[in-house]
């Protein structure tokens, strides 16, 4: 119990360091880089008086240290100020509204990617494909090397514009099918990585003595796989999903833009285009924080099941 607690605490601290580093870099980028944020927000036509008012509203007239403490306090209390473009709406609230669709997209993608990847690896390890089981590896390698940015628009063109099986990008009535298609695209590279890692992990386990014993006792392939091999191979699979989260986040932004879906990516783009600095800060820091904590959670889960990684 104490061990589990120690691992969890260690990973929590790691995630915290990543978040504080990201937040500080975001803070510095918007304040230390040359150029007056107030001028960026208001444009060149604004009068000096308007700019001074905005600077006061964004607390840009205080010292850097005072701004930083305010910023950190805002992070902890989820209060990073009001949206500049939509007065009266808090920045954090807008981020929260946008986070749900993105979470749906990414969550479904992780689920599909992990399922398909593990299934492909089992198909490659099992007796069904015979001499052709190398195909699984080759396909996974090819797919893992293909950037989402290259195949997502082409697949969308083929399936939405030519074959008309899925809704076109930007279709407001895309509904569940649109969500499933977008998550499917996002899941493809993930499933390739999961398949490669699980293939290697299952191969590793296959040479272990306990599998030989289980098989010698007369366990069927399914029983040996389910009860003995998969649990032993779970660690690397969890880790690779964690390691792919960064790509998943970037991919979600790309796909939201491609399909014109509402979400964190769209919010960040909108905040960028309209220079809504509080919303931009909040969106980046909170999605970064979520990302870091889930990633460390995956690492902690691996460390708890597998004593070798500690």
């Amino acid at each position: 119990m104490l061990r589990v607690f120690r691992i969890a605490a260690g990973k929590f601290v790691d995630a915290l360091i990543v978040v504080v580093a990201l937040a500080s870099l975001v803070f510095l980028a918007l304040r230390v880089l040359p150029g007056d944020p107030a001028a960026l927000v208001l444009g060149d036509q604004a009068t000096e008086f308007e700019r001074a008012a905005l600077r006061a509203k964004l607390h840009l007239d205080e010292s850097l240290v005072a701004q930083y403490t305010r910023f950190l306090r805002g992070l902890v209390t989820f209060d990073l100020g009001e949206s500049v473009r939509r007065p009266g709406t808090s920045a954090v609230l807008r981020v929260w509204d946008a986070a749900l669709p993105t979470a749906e997209l990414a969550g479904l993608a992780v689920l599909m990617g992990a399922t398909v990847g593990v299934a492909a690896a089992i198909a490659g390890a099992g007796p069904w494909l015979g001499a052709r089981h190398g195909w699984v590896d080759k396909m996974a390698t090819a797919l893992a090397a293909t950037p989402l940015l290259a195949f997502a628009p082409v697949l969308t063109y083929a399936l939405a514009a030519r074959l008309r099986i899925v809704p076109l990008p930007g279709d407001p009535e895309a509904g569940a099918l649109g969500l499933v298609f977008a998550s499917g695209l996002l899941a493809l590279p993930l499933s390739a990585h999961v398949a490669r890692v699980s293939r290697a992990a299952l191969d590793d386990v296959a040479r272990a003595q306990f599998l030989g014993v289980a098989r010698a006792k007369g366990g069927s392939f399914a029983r040996v796989l389910w009860l003995h091999a998969l649990p032993a191979a779970a660690g690397p699979i969890v880790t690779v999903v964690g390691a792919q989260l960064g790509a998943l986040l970037g991919g979600a932004v790309v796909l939201e833009r491609l399909f014109e879906r509402r979400g964190l990516g769209t919010l960040i783009l909108e905040a960028y285009a309209s220079r809504d600095l509080p919303v931009l800060e909040a969106a980046v820091v909170f999605s970064g924080a979520f990302f870091a904590f889930v990633q460390q959670l995956a690492a902690a889960a691996h460390a708890m099941v597998d004593p070798r990684v500690r």
């Binding site: 990201l22 870099l25 980028a29 960026l40 940015l149 290259a150 969308t156 939405a160 970037g250 980046v284």
Partner: protein, 266 residues
């Protein structure tokens, strides 16, 4: 010659030829091509490929061949410079950490873990929005912030093996200083492993740059692979060739860079 080794030989020929062919053809188009990537001929908007415009035209009649060639060249330049920066910071750092052992080694290894867990895509978004006119130099700085970590990690792992090797011990016994050992004995032995990482890093950066320009965070001139894709998506029904050209060029560029790294690994 066995079939397997024949296959491997053929693959290594591809590995050398594909990236070279890409760079040479792209440079030729950039140097000798008759048209500028930003020149627009509105009459030719979304024109399909023809003899005088081999890849067709994009939004407002920009020549896609010129656009893709310039964008690819700039993307490769950005990616290889960031990969080289990461390499020249990461390798000595990792090698030094491995030789110094103890505290330093632990701290650097942990720093690598943390930096590799860093969402650099998000950071790039913020830095690009904080500057008035985003350029590739800004992108290079953002990517370089995290690009060194995988090199350090590889160099550290390799140095842990090398530091007890007989030739390193011999060099030390002959009185060589640490700098000399790192430069003359450790780093040359790292290069094979690290070259693969150079290719992988460069490929990842080309794709990130294209992704950033696709979502609208690119440089202002619109000469980027992602900008071509963006045009293609918006005119998916009218002019599908733009989308196919954009997707193919992202794919070919990233695979070439990845393959180029593998070519050095014997």
């Amino acid at each position: 010659m066995t079939r397997a080794s024949e296959k491997r030989r053929r693959r290594s020929v591809v590995a050398r030829v594909l990236p070279l062919a890409l760079v040479i053809s792209v440079t030729t188009v950039v140097a000798l091509g008759p048209r500028s990537p930003t020149r627009l001929v509105p009459a030719l908007s979304w024109a399909p490929p023809s003899l005088s415009f081999p890849l067709g035209c994009g939004e407002a009649g920009g020549d896609l061949l010129a656009l893709v060639a310039h964008a690819t060249l700039r993307g490769i330049a950005l990616a290889s410079s960031v990969a080289l920066i990461g390499f020249s910071i990461g390798c000595p750092l990792g090698a030094a950490a491995g030789l110094l052992r103890g505290r330093v080694e632990q701290i650097i290894a942990r720093a690598c873990d943390l930096v590799q867990a860093f969402p650099s895509f998000l950071l790039a978004l913020v830095v690009l929005s904080a500057v008035r006119v985003p350029t590739r130099a800004h992108l290079a700085v953002v990517f370089a912030l995290t690009a060194w970590a995988p090199f350090t990690r590889l160099a550290l792992a390799q140095t842990r093996v090398l530091r007890d090797a007989a030739f390193v011990e011999a060099a030390r016994a002959l009185g060589a200083r640490s700098t000399r050992i790192v430069l003359r004995h450790v780093i040359p032995n790292l290069l094979g492993v690290v070259a693969v990482q150079l290719g992988a890093t460069a490929a990842a950066i080309v794709v990130s740059e294209a992704a950033l320009s696709f979502v609208g965070f690119g440089t202002r001139d619109g000469v980027a692979l992602g900008a071509v894709l963006d045009q293609g998506v918006s005119a998916m029904l009218r002019a599908p060739h733009v989308l196919l050209v954009g997707a193919a060029s992202v794919f070919v560029t990233s695979v070439s860079l990845m393959v180029a790294g593998r070519a050095f690994d014997k």
